[in-house]
């Protein structure tokens, strides 16, 4: 777009004139921030690595039979005892290849992060819509629950839930959903309250369409932009929360570490100079969360009508 303006030359070839669809405009506006574009590329790479981990990682870090305690705490770049693998990022205390550990750890982080954000979004959006559309008592009850939920520190709520349910990956997802649905509910309700007074809803109501159809086919699509923005941010939050819970020893089993548990495993060795056990998973976690946040920030700018030029 800027190139066209800069050259100032009229474009003659009609085949080259792109029709400006909303999606195209969205893409070009998104690409205006090189940082966000970079973030998107990083996320794509991370997702590909996570999906392909079983095929491209040097070792299956969850198979106890291939780990060797004698290879424990090797420095980055050292070879395994039998010379079959070079540990480019070193090994942890169990002789687990850090590179493989990080690839598999990303799988868990992304699955838990995206999965729990998705479920929280479904639950939160439905309740938010219901609150906005029904109003009155329903609205009050749902929103007071949201207020209550938001007044507790999320890590505390998650710890209580895991203490009650016991530790497992499924329970971590449940804990994150319980912690996060309120954000979606509040966002969607705010937007929906504005939208439901619009004429198209009135029209739909005049046609006596069933309520669920008005809610999900008419109201929801018009609440999507803020939902997408908050969804992206919450994925990053969910990943961080999963890492925190695993770091505290409440998440994944110790033989199948996620990034948080890998960091926890190396934490005790920080004082003894064996930095790599915590450092590299920490970097991987940091890069993932920063990249998602960059994309989320740009999405917010692009999708916010008030910032529209």
């Amino acid at each position: 777009m800027s190139a066209v303006v800069g050259q100032g030359a009229p474009i003659e070839d009609p085949a080259k004139i792109k029709v400006e669809t909303p999606f195209r405009r969205f893409c070009s506006e998104f690409a205006e921030s090189k940082l966000a574009l970079g973030g998107l590329i990083v996320i794509s790479i991370i997702i590909v690595v996570a999906i392909l981990a079983p095929f491209i990682s040097p070792q299956d870090p969850y198979d106890l039979a291939v780990l060797d305690i004698m290879d424990g705490r090797l420095e980055p770049g050292e070879k395994s005892g039998d010379g079959s693998i070079t540990y480019w990022l070193g090994t942890d205390d169990q002789g687990r290849d850090m590179l493989s550990g990080i690839m598999y750890g990303l799988r868990i982080s992304l699955t838990v992060g995206a999965g729990s954000a998705f479920i929280a979004c479904m639950v939160g959006a439905s309740l938010g819509l219901a609150a906005a559309y029904a109003g009155g008592k329903t609205d009050s009850i749902i929103m007071r629950i949201v207020d209550l939920q938001l007044s507790f520190p999320s890590i505390l709520v998650a710890l209580m839930i895991l203490a009650f349910l016991g530790k497992s990956v499924t329970n971590v997802v449940i804990a994150i959903v319980v912690v996060e649905w309120a954000y979606y509910a509040r966002t969607v309700r705010g937007t929906a309250l504005v939208e439901r007074r619009r004429e198209y809803i009135e029209a739909a109501e005049c046609l006596a369409l069933p309520r669920y159809r008005i809610l999900f086919r008419h109201l929801l699509p018009n609440c999507l932009p803020p939902l997408i923005v908050i969804g992206t941010m919450q994925v990053a939050r969910a990943i961080a929360l999963e890492a925190t819970l695993s770091f505290l020893g409440l998440g994944v089993p110790i033989t199948e570490p996620s990034l948080g548990l890998l960091i926890a495993n190396g934490y005790e060795y920080m004082l003894s100079g064996k930095y790599w056990i915590s450092f590299y998973p920490g970097i991987a976690l940091l890069v993932t969360i920063v990249a998602i946040n960059l994309v989320g920030d740009q999405l917010r700018d692009v999708l916010n009508p008030r910032l529209q030029k």
Binding site: D63, I69, G249, P253, I254, E268, Y269, K274
Partner: protein
């Protein structure tokens, strides 16, 4: 702004305090890794509690750093008849409040042992053998037992003596508040903040060696990294349970003094002996995850295979970083009733696979190995390492680590097929035999910690015989025979005996003890160099 001024003032104040070396040298700052749960010496049998009790109170029979009996509040003791022990008490001993110590106090103490409400791990067992107490004169007492009882002096090393007057109606809470934390020991309690710190002042009227410091600040620092960092920064002068990950670094540091000794705590794997050969063990399946229909752990060949599949040297060197000695039995060499010639089982994966095949499991099976993650040194790392080694001989192992409180409850309900646990022994084979290897019996008080429910009639018979044998050499032979049978039967899979490690800053020396107790009287200023 306001905050920064206050911070500056705090920094200035701490600089002034630090600048007073004379005052600082009189206070000893100790950091211990496990919390003390009570100041009542008869409430909870736990090493951290016993350490603090040893600072406030005294026992009739004390123990030196190698856990040998030495005179405490009793100057001497002997068996005056087959069922009678006589203790001659130390004269001119007073409690912190000035009350004199006499035989009355001993009688009161023994009577209190079974009557401490809600005790999570009672001292009552030490009172049980005594059927009658006889005060011969104020400084002589006799204990009468129903049967000959050779363990009396050893039992008395666990009983801290209270004052019959001060403690007449004292409840555990009164000890914890510090109000009646009054004994004959080298330290007086000044302040107790439960789970955080205990402050002591020296008892200047102490009958024994006078401690070198006027005050002790005894702090519970449960986070390993924090404890090490506080030592390095000078906040603490002595720490215990030095994390193995920091060991190499601390040994190199010229300002740090590391003292260590092989301890009395064996870390071992318990196995499910409860389910019969034709029953399912709760956490064992075939390779497809279906019930096996039998308990392979009932076959001694399987137990032996699991034992020799473990490379104990690798665990001691790589996981424990040298702070452990591979062992095949509960007691370290040199202690009474150590089984001579019983070495740690030799690692041999091929032989282990052959044994499994012989037992009818050529393709192995699946098992879950459980363990605590906050109780023993590197506990969760050890079970992962064992998991690797078992998986390599075809016994596919899932590893499950949990907090101690959850773990020990489940182990006590026999919910595990295999689990890692530890046992800190008294230096006498009867102690692990009676608690771990004897058939579980609530009535006899046997097998209290026999969570795998191992049971062997021969072991029980030898133990029974030893408990009424007064001749120390004959008794030792009985205990050795019983322990040897248990080892041949692979009652448990012994891994290693922990090394107890303390680290102190330059200027302090700490005497390492085999019984793990961290006591202020064991720290002395180092001789000036």
């Amino acid at each position: 702004m306001r905050n920064s001024i206050r911070n500056a003032a705090l920094v200035a104040a701490s600089v002034v305090v630090a600048g007073l070396p004379a005052a600082k040298a009189q206070t000893l700052n100790m950091g211990v890794g496990s919390p003390v749960t009570s100041l009542d010496p008869h409430y909870h049998q736990l090493s951290p509690n016993n350490a603090v009790s040893d600072m406030i109170f005294d026992k009739l029979v004390s123990t030196d750093s190698a856990a040998r009996n030495i005179p405490g509040l009793a100057e001497s003791w002997r068996a005056v008849g087959p069922t009678t022990w006589e203790f001659k008490l130390r004269p001119n001993v007073t409690f912190h409040n000035g009350n004199a110590f006499t035989a009355e106090d001993v009688v009161f103490t023994i009577q209190r042992l079974p009557n401490v409400p809600n005790s999570p791990s009672s001292y009552a067992a030490y009172a049980r053998p005594i059927v009658r107490m006889e005060i011969v004169d104020p400084l002589t007492i006799r204990f009468h037992t129903a049967q000959p009882y050779p363990l009396m002096p050893l039992d008395m090393t666990n009983v801290r003596i209270l004052d019959s007057e001060t403690h007449a109606n004292a409840a555990t809470e009164d000890f914890n508040s510090g109000r009646v934390a009054i004994g004959t020991g080298p330290w007086r309690v000044v302040n107790h903040r439960s789970g955080d710190r205990i402050e002591f002042a020296r008892n200047d009227n102490y009958w024994g060696d006078k401690p070198a410091f006027e005050r002790v600040n005894y702090r519970m620092v449960t986070n390993d990294a924090t404890r090490t960092a506080s030592l390095l920064s000078g906040d603490l002068d002595v720490i215990d349970q030095v994390p193995t990950s920091d060991l190499a670094r601390l040994r190199r540091d010229p300002n740090i003094n590391v003292t260590e000794t092989v301890g009395l705590r064996l870390v071992f794997l318990g196995l499910d002996h409860l389910r019969a050969a034709d029953e399912n063990s709760p956490q064992i399946t075939d390779n497809d995850g279906r019930p096996l229909g039998r308990n392979p752990l009932q076959d001694v060949r399987v137990r032996r295979a699991l034992s020799i599949a473990i490379d104990r040297k690798a665990i001691a060197e790589r996981v424990m970083e040298g702070a452990a000695t591979p062992s095949g039995q509960f007691l370290p060499p040199g202690t009474y009733s150590h089984v001579p010639g019983l070495e740690a089982p030799e690692f041999n994966a091929d032989a282990a696979r052959r044994l499994l095949a012989e037992a009818g499991y050529p393709n192995g099976f699946r098992i879950t190995l459980s363990g605590p993650n906050d109780r023993y040194i590197n506990d969760s790392r050890i079970i992962q390492a064992v998991g690797q080694m078992w998986t390599r001989i075809g016994v596919r192992t899932a590893v499950e680590a949990q907090t101690w409180s959850t773990f020990v409850g489940r182990a006590g309900r026999q919910e595990f097929s295999s689990f890692l646990i530890g046992w800190g022994s008294n230096p006498d084979g009867s102690h692990p035999l009676r608690n771990i290897l004897a058939t579980y019996s609530r009535d006899r008080g046997w097998g209290a910690s026999n969570r795998g429910r191992f049971s062997n009639a021969e072991v029980d018979a030898l133990l029974t015989e030893s408990l009424s044998e007064l001749d120390n050499e004959k008794r030792e032979q009985l205990l050795i025979r019983a322990q040897r049978i248990a080892a041949e039967q692979v009652a448990v899979i012994p891994l290693h005996i922990q090394t107890n490690i303390w680290a102190s800053r330059r200027g302090f020396t700490h005497q390492a003890r085999v019984d793990e107790l961290t006591r202020a009287q064991d720290t002395r200023p180092a001789a000036a160099r």
